[in-house]
């Protein structure tokens, strides 16, 4: 009996009229937890009842505390007939179970009914008294923190990154139980909502247990998904990265900018998070922790169902086994290879060396290989025993193994930015997993080499190191064109790099980035069962191939050479497959400049045809030039000649590695490379190809003042203001029957383009701004319908900066012509000195990191040029400094402060929502817990509610409102890493009915404006309480 849950019902407001005669309501409240129910008195004849109840106390196991939600039902008392339910509130009490999160839930929460939506609000108080439980065999995992954020949360420091955790639970879907035929839609919806709440709780608890066994205390990058498999059941699954986090106690902002406040040497220290620990890495993490992890890691791996397979894994790799770890330090030989081997061995002991993180502590990510992905098509069958979801587990295991082997063939021992997804249509299910093959430093791994004094720092520079190929040059797993790194000139880099992670903050980037999307539709015949699954899995490779080609073409067209945050979504319908690939294109300074696109006709005899081709060629070239200007891509090309480095031959190669397997088919790998041609050649051999090129060119550019990306931040923009606007937009498009692939493609592409255009128009008042974390989700809700949902955040930045930037790019070229050598490096150097003295770059956003790379190059070979460059540099320093650094920041910040102030007068606490892991211009001072909510809304009066659009509009607004209210009740003022993971919309206009399911998640936080922080930094505690009071006040 290790916990006591207490709840108090204070009051209600804005209740609906339940008694037509009096236009009033006789409301009372039922409070239920597990099987215990309490009731308040009836508060007669009021729409704003004041119950002021006693404290209802539930004495429960902490296992139940984790699994069960607190269920509050508001009812209207009726003397003669049954009491009518007004609505419900489910409260997830998980945040209260963790000492570092929230301590009380208190505030106005919307009363929700699945048929009527929000019906007034209720004011409640919830607390938990937790007793210490020393039972080793406990089933609960209270205290393990969960974060949706896919990076180390802002006010924590990672002591250790343990690795991949996964779990899934299955159940029958109440919607498909026999009882559903006789119960009301409301009862059925509520049963479903409750079940999913329970399942999520259970899942979280089980994952928590795994984390504890691994010796961790938190899950970062927690991703939970639902598979509504219809007849065959309901699957809730989750993946995440287990970590040991430590709260950063030092409050003030003094230590917030490690990279620019410290001279270059400090960079090489294992600094991350907020403060240099000052502990030489050799000492590693605190010893007790270490011991603990070891003991739990070794033989008793009972928590994992897959333990057998991982054991075999271990025994299969004896050469790189544990032994080499200890002796590593003494060998001064081929360091890199050895260290690589060590980490590799450390990772290979894990079943899946996967990480759901997309942003890493500095020094963690060493090299990136490329994207690895795997898909498989499965036929769903009824889950017979919910307690043993073996088949589903086996499916995912299969896919993960495949991913692992792909990574291996890229010479990588880990997969980062890892995610899993499904698409279900009737009985066919496509399972997908993707990530980025990478080599990680052993620094944060529990069983890495002991002697970490010998590190890569001499070898790997932060600005370009991650681009260096991890695989063996002579044994390339796919045809690739390698050149020497354009930053350090020492290591080989590929010509194009695709990844699923965020752009590393230290990466050196030229110009700005942009959103790049490949969109594709493929028709398929209607079929059943095996035949259908076979047909789909036969189509998949073509779909992926074409998506990849499109991505590559569009990347070239923008003059860029790398993709970040790549996410390929494939959705299956009865008569078509839909593919949408989104990524953020950038120009990595370390990679060679991409060649142009050359068009070649098949029938060269015809003159008019040739003219047509040359016209097109011209258009393409023009577009490339225009794009380069737009995104300010002017790499320092002169460098090559001076150094006399090998001139790169731009050639195309793909790093997308995937395979498909139908059921248990063998892995088939497709080479997606485009051959060994010197320029990127598009062959026009039929009308389709012409259409393709047209499509390529019709992608309309973003309007002036707008930038877009699907990653967290946009390279080249730093001075964000505090104006942020998160939004969700959903569109459903009805198709005509009998469309060709070509026609479908166009419609789908237009749909996405128009949606983007609408977003730009809507947000025009925020210009100049950047749409960040643009997350597209496509679905085929039924035949001939395409649904596209977008969630993103618009961030405003300061105009002054852009203007100057514009000027800079204009001025830059002449300067370059004069200096004739790597002058950019030189003034970056200068800049370093400048910024370290002033040190006012916005936390987390700045540091495109051109200076570390500069430093590196400088130290190696540019010394002798220094003098010569120095004389020329002088004139240009001032102008460039404002381009690379946020020098006019003080103004920007004060402006943002002002705009923020105007919000504060509202009587309802303002809660910001953002899909990003941070809030510009603010510092997150506390994480209050994970928000994971699932809602169903149904109507049988669709027309009266404004049609499908009106219905969904209201529902989404209600979901936002409920998220905000729960965050405010926890004492928070923002949700970060917010995402809408599911939006399943079904309609039946003939019956005037519609139903929608939405699942959202995020991290509730308290943030403080950086400006306020400076004022209150003397007394950090007061700042905390102030904010939380603000949240609870109303």
């Amino acid at each position: 009996m290790p916990g006591k849950l207490k709840a108090k019902i204070v009051a209600g407001r804005h209740l609906p009229v339940m008694d037509r005669a009096s236009d009033l309501t006789d409301a009372f409240v039922e409070v239920k937890f597990g099987n215990t129910t309490f009731k308040t008195d009836v508060y007669p004849k009021s729409l704003n009842p004041q119950w002021n109840s006693e404290w209802f106390k539930f004495e429960v196991d902490d296992e139940d505390l984790q699994d069960e939600p607190l269920q509050i039902t508001v009812l209207d008392h009726d003397t003669y007939s049954a009491n009518d339910a007004i609505g419900k509130v489910y409260i997830d009490i998980d945040p209260l179970l963790c000492s570092e999160a929230a301590t009380v839930i208190s505030g106005w929460l919307p009363i929700y009914d699945t048929i009527h939506g929000i019906r007034g609000e209720i004011n409640v108080l919830v607390k938990v008294d937790l007793f210490n439980d020393l039972n080793r065999f406990r089933q609960s995992s209270c205290g393990v923190k969960f974060f949706c954020t896919t990076s180390i949360p802002r006010c924590y420091r990672a002591i250790m990154v343990h690795g991949f955790v996964e779990e899934l639970v299955v159940n029958e879907d109440p919607e498909y139980q026999w009882i559903d035929r006789i119960r009301t839609p409301r009862a059925s919806n509520e049963a479903r909502q409750r079940l999913i709440f329970l399942m999520s709780g259970e899942l979280q608890r089980k994952i928590g247990l795994k984390v504890l066994e691994m010796g961790g205390n938190a899950v970062v990058g927690y991703l939970q998904c639902f598979d509504l498999e219809g007849e065959s059941g309901l699957v809730v699954r989750a993946i995440g990265t287990a970590c040991t986090l430590e709260k950063i106690s030092t409050f003030p902002a003094t230590a917030t900018h490690p990279s620019n406040s410290s001279p270059s040497k400090d960079m090489k220290e294992p600094v991350f998070g907020e403060e240099a620990p000052g502990v030489p890495l050799s000492s590693g993490p605190p010893t007790p922790l270490r011991a603990q992890t070891f003991s739990s890691f070794s033989p008793s791996k009972s928590y994992s169902r897959q333990s057998s397979s991982s054991d075999t894994e271990l025994s299969l790799t004896p050469k790189t086994g544990m032994g080499s770890g200890g002796s590593a330090g003494k060998d001064a030989g081929p360091l890199k290879a050895l260290l690589k081997q060590q980490t590799q061995s450390a990772l290979e002991q894990r079943e899946y060396p996967f990480f759901t993180l997309t942003v890493f502590p500095p020094g963690f990510l060493l090299h990136v290989g490329g994207v690895v992905s795997a898909r498989s098509v499965k036929l769903l069958d009824r889950i017979h025993n919910p307690d043993e979801p073996e088949t589903r587990d086996a499916w995912w295991e299969e896919i993960r193994q495949e991913i692992k082997s792909h990574a291996k063939s890229l010479g990588c021992h880990a997969v980062v930015g890892y995610s899993e997804s499904t698409s279900i249509c009737e009985e066919v299910c496509i399972l997908s997993a993707s990530g980025t093959a990478a080599i990680l430093s052993s620094r944060f791994m529990q069983d890495g080499p002991l002697d970490t004094e010998l590190r890569f720092e001499e070898v790997v520079s932060p600005g370009c190191g991650f681009c260096h190929i991890p695989y063996d040059e002579l044994n390339i797993p796919f045809p690739a064109q390698l050149t020497y790194c354009y930053c350090c000139r020492r290591y080989k880099v590929p010509d194009v790099l695709f990844t699923t992670i965020d752009l590393p903050t230290e990466a050196s980037v030229t110009g700005k980035g942009c959103l790049i999307q490949a969109r594709l539709c493929r028709t398929k015949k209607k079929a059943q069962g095996e035949v259908n699954a076979m047909a789909i899995s036969n189509l998949l490779p073509f779909l992926e191939y074409e998506l990849h080609t499109q991505l590559m073409n569009k990347l070239k067209l923008r003059g860029m050479n790398a993709l970040f945050g790549l996410r390929i979504q494939i959705s299956v319908g009865e008569t078509m497959l839909l593919g949408l690939a989104s990524a953020t294109g950038v120009y990595l300074t370390a990679l060679p400049s991409p060649g142009g696109i050359q068009i070649v006709g098949k029938t060269p005899s015809d003159i008019t045809y040739e003219q047509h081709i040359s016209n097109m060629q011209k258009k393409i070239n023009d577009t490339i030039t225009k794009n380069k200007e737009l995104y300010e891509i002017n790499p320092p090309e002169v460098v090559e000649e001076i150094i006399g480095s090998p001139i790169p031959e731009p050639r195309q190669r793909s790093r997308l590695f995937r395979s498909h397997s139908e059921s248990s088919d063998d892995v088939s790998e497709i080479d997606l490379s485009h051959g060994k041609k010197d320029a990127f050649v598009l062959e026009i051999d039929d009308t389709d190809a012409v259409e393709d090129i047209h499509a390529l060119l019709t992608d309309s550019p973003t309007p002036a003042g707008f930038y877009s990306c699907n990653t967290e931040i946009m390279p080249g923009i730093q001075n964000w203001t505090s104006a942020i606007q998160m939004f969700t937009s959903v569109r459903v498009f009805r198709l005509n029957a009998n469309l060709t692939n070509q026609g479908l493609n166009k419609i789908f592409s237009d749909l996405c383009e128009n949606l983007l255009k609408s977003l730009y128009f809507k947000l025009r008042s925020m210009v100049p701004c950047c749409l960040c974390h643009l997350n597209f989700t496509v679905a085929i809700p039924e035949d001939e319908l395409i649904q596209v949902a977008v969630t993103a955040v618009a961030l405003s930045f300061d105009k002054v900066q852009t203007l100057e930037n514009g000027k800079q790019s204009g001025e830059k070229t002449p300067i370059k012509a004069i200096t004739e050598n790597d002058e950019q490096l030189q003034f970056n150097l200068e800049l370093n000195a400048e910024t370290s003295s002033s040190s006012i770059s916005p936390k987390g956003l700045s540091e495109v990191g051109s200076h570390p790379s500069a430093r590196d190059r400088c130290s190696s070979w540019i010394e002798q040029l220094k003098l010569k460059a120095h004389t020329i540099r002088r004139g240009s320093v001032k102008t460039t400094s404002s381009m690379e650094k946020a020098s006019p920041l003080p103004e920007g910040r004060s402006r943002s402060l002002r705009s923020n102030r105007s919000y504060s007068g509202s009587s309802v606490a303002v809660v910001k929502m953002t899909p990003l892991s941070f809030i510009p211009g603010a510092k997150i001072i506390k994480y209050l817990g994970i928000i994971n909510m699932f809602f169903i809304r149904e109507t049988s009066s669709l027309r009266e509610e404004g049609g499908v659009s009106g219905f969904l509009h209201t529902f989404i607004a209600e979901v936002f409102a409920m998220v905000r209210a729960h965050v405010a009740a926890l004492g928070g003022n923002a949700v970060v890493s917010y995402s809408m993971k599911e939006c399943v919309f079904m309609e039946n206009p003939n019956k005037n009915q519609a139903q929608c399911l939405i699942n959202v998640s995020g991290d509730a936080v308290i943030f403080v404006r950086e400006s306020e922080l400076e004022l209150t930094s003397v007394q950090p505690q007061s700042a905390t309480t102030q904010t939380s009071n603000g949240g609870e006040g109303t």
């Binding site: 649904q787 009587s907 209600e958």
Partner: protein, 357 residues
């Protein structure tokens, strides 16, 4: 092929002022799109008509969802569904409750009943204001009327607190409520030259001086009704015209004061008895509800028109009324000084406001 569903929901609700105005003015979505295209927003933002249509529909839907809340503005501040910055909330409320002067002129003083509402299509045709907008404005009047009708305390303050309106707008609503409650006749041809602001000014005078609340705002009764006791007392003023001596005395006092100060002295002297009778008769009759309704028409017929035909300027009128009021206090046998001041103060400022072309 068609867009079946199209929604955009922001964490902070996005509302375009221009579209809001179009919605308030009663434009259909398609008409609003046309207006916006003509306004040039498309070129400004590189948008297409399609984008504009989608945006307009979306905004209209948002406004419709908000309308329920706008009916009770206080709710807008503590509802949870839409996160709207306070300055935006104020804008939404103010514009929702704003009205057209030409519309209000048509319904001013009329009973805010279903019957009147049915006639709104005529009003719409006459004023050129869209029926939808007329209905909203009418419903606003009625809603405000219903809420404040039952409330104690000062009218303007009540309106301001319950509907969160800025002061000038709250005053206008007070006038509308006051006119509707007392059913003042404003539609007669002779009154057509008066604007709503003229009436609103007069209403302000009446509310501040002639209602119960004007004397004692702790009273149970409120600002909406005229002070019955005062109206009763007004009958006593009749002595000024029934008593021959008093009338002559009054006249000579006024004439002495006026002599040489105006070039229409002769007309004033000739008309004195007539004008005085007019004003005092209005006072004496105000106890009858029916005559209250004719208050403005009486002022015009009995005083303003005669003066106008004598070509008096408003300076002349001011001069005349000042001396007319003051001289009565010097009369030996005239005892009703307080009532007289209270009556004439309002009459004077009303007449001066109404004395224009």
């Amino acid at each position: 092929m068609s867009v079946e569903l199209d929604v955009f929901v922001g964490n902070t609700t996005i509302m375009d002022k221009e579209v809001y105005q179009l919605w308030l003015n009663g434009y259909t979505v398609n008409d609003a799109v046309k207006v916006r295209i003509e306004g040039g927003v498309m070129e400004e933002c590189e948008a297409s008509a399609e984008v504009l249509l989608s945006d307009t529909m979306d905004q209209y839907r948002t406004f419709q969802m908000c309308e329920r809340l706008l009916h009770h503005p206080a709710k807008l501040a503590n509802q949870l569904l839409f996160q709207i910055p306070p300055d935006r909330q104020a804008m939404l409320i103010e514009r929702y409750y704003a009205f057209d002067d030409s519309f209000v002129r048509e319904v001013l003083g009329k009973k805010l009943s279903k019957g009147t509402k049915k006639d709104l299509d005529d009003v719409s045709i006459k004023t050129g204001i869209m029926l939808k907008s007329c209905r909203r404005q009418f419903d606003n009047f009625k809603r405000v009327f219903k809420v404040v009708e039952e409330l104690k305390g000062p009218l303007v303050e009540n309106i301001r607190q319950h509907f969160l309106l800025p002061d000038p707008l709250a005053r206008d609503y007070a006038a509308i409520v006051f006119f509707a409650n007392n059913r003042f006749e404003t539609g007669k041809k002779k009154l057509q030259y008066l604007t709503f602001q003229d009436f609103a000014f007069c209403a302000g005078q009446l509310i501040n001086n002639w209602t119960v609340g004007a004397v004692d705002n702790m009273m149970e009764d409120m600002d909406v009704d005229l002070d019955k006791e005062f109206l009763q007392d007004l009958k006593d003023l009749k002595i000024l015209i029934t008593d021959k001596d008093l009338l002559d005395q009054h006249k000579s006092l006024v004439c002495t004061a006026l002599r040489g100060k105006t070039n229409v002295f002769n007309e004033m002297e000739a008309n004195f008895k007539n004008l005085s009778r007019g004003l005092v008769n209005i006072a004496a009759k105000l106890i009858n509800a029916k005559d209250v309704r004719d208050f403005f028409i009486d002022l015009v017929e009995k005083f303003i028109e005669p003066c106008r035909s004598d070509k008096l300027t408003s300076i002349d009128v001011n001069l005349y009324l000042t001396h007319y009021t003051n001289s009565a206090h010097i009369l030996d046998t005239f005892k009703h000084h307080t009532v007289w001041t209270r009556y004439m103060g309002v009459i004077k400022s009303c007449i001066l406001r109404m004395y224009h072309d």
